[in-house]
């Protein structure tokens, strides 16, 4: 498809090549996990050195066997930002891959909650591999799925527990089917707790927010 995907495929192939050659070259078992070339290969493939040692010799021809589950699951970290709330806002997402994929967007008039949903929604639209973990610091987004708030909403005609209309229904109706599909997990993390990818997603969101602000309020 696009350049990052091609690059990623190439990197994975090179990693498999490296591992095959190391096996063929008779690298000793105890040195295996300490070789930097093996370490790089494992990082790209998302597997441990032990898992790499178990790979068949022809893995460079056949690809990663399905039986070898990557030990580092794919994650998309998401975040939203909103100046003033309500006000101009932005969202951003970034994957935990060696060469992270990223996305961002903004809206000149929105709320913090819409931006948090939009971050997760656009992440799931853009990153289609499964299984995947969507990471968010918003209990609003995570609890909707993990505590099955959406089940009650759909049952009561999109009314919340106070019998008022559920807010941001348009985004939820897009997000819920994607987030409840097979292989999608939601995970909450505390914001501003130093998680590097949470900070990276925040910076994407803030940049998009500021762009939306500049666009929405031209001076």
């Amino acid at each position: 498809m696009n350049e990052p995907d091609d690059l990623r495929a190439t990197a994975e192939q090179l990693a498999l090549d490296t591992i095959s050659m190391a096996k063929a070259g008779g690298m000793p078992d105890d040195y295996w996990p300490r070789d930097p070339r093996i370490a790089r290969a494992c990082l790209v493939l998302g597997i441990t050195p032990e898992e790499a040692r178990e790979l068949p010799a022809d893995a460079y021809l056949t690809g990663l066997p399905r039986a070898v589950t990557p030990s580092v699951p794919l994650e998309v970290w998401t975040d939203g930002a909103c100046s003033g709330n309500p006000g101009p806002g932005g969202w951003g997402w970034i994957t935990n891959e060696a060469e992270p994929r990223k996305g961002s967007g903004g809206d000149p008039a929105t709320t913090n909650q819409r931006m948090e949903i939009a971050a997760a929604l656009n992440a799931l639209k853009s990153v289609t591999e499964r299984p995947i973990v969507v990471v968010s610091d918003s209990t609003y987004v995570v609890n909707c799925i993990t505590k099955k708030w959406y089940v009650g909403w759909q049952r009561n005609g999109w009314k919340n527990s106070k019998k008022e209309p559920v807010a941001n229904r348009d985004l939820w109706e897009e997000f819920v089917p994607l987030a409840t599909a097979a292989g999608v997990t939601l995970r909450w993390v505390k914001g501003h707790a130093g998680h590097p990818l949470n900070e990276a997603a925040d910076q994407l969101a803030v940049a998009a927010r500021d762009a939306a602000k500049a666009q929405g309020a031209p001076v």
Copy 2:
């Protein structure tokens, strides 16, 4: 005493001076209520222009005669607070006087409704002047009196409309006689609407609640 009190005494004296001078100056009766200086003086003293016109000429020397009842009725503003509900709770009340009287108390294990009743009950126990207006943001407390819920309860042996025992009967049995006595009026106000005395009563309740919490759960 303190600075605000001194300031208030000074303001009241200036108001009396103004009224005395207006009388001495022969201000016409029909103009009297429309003069902004008189209006300001009346506001400070809590009396009507008509009452001001009836003041003796030497009121600026003798002070406000006791016979002139302030036209601003006495009010007690009440509020309750309860952490968790049920949980540790507190109540508070404060009068609308120039030097407000206040009261508060707490309970390490109670409900929001008990605290709302307790606030009004303790206010009526402590402030014995009549007439008096008890102000609460709880329809539970106000409607019991103004919609005469208590009449039905007493008639049915303290059963509510679902034929279950009326909750908080112990407090109601103390409160109802006091609240239905001559000169006692109940008034409802919306909570969190910026009424300064509602906020003041809330702060008293919250402080008492936090004290009860600290006392009830010593670490």
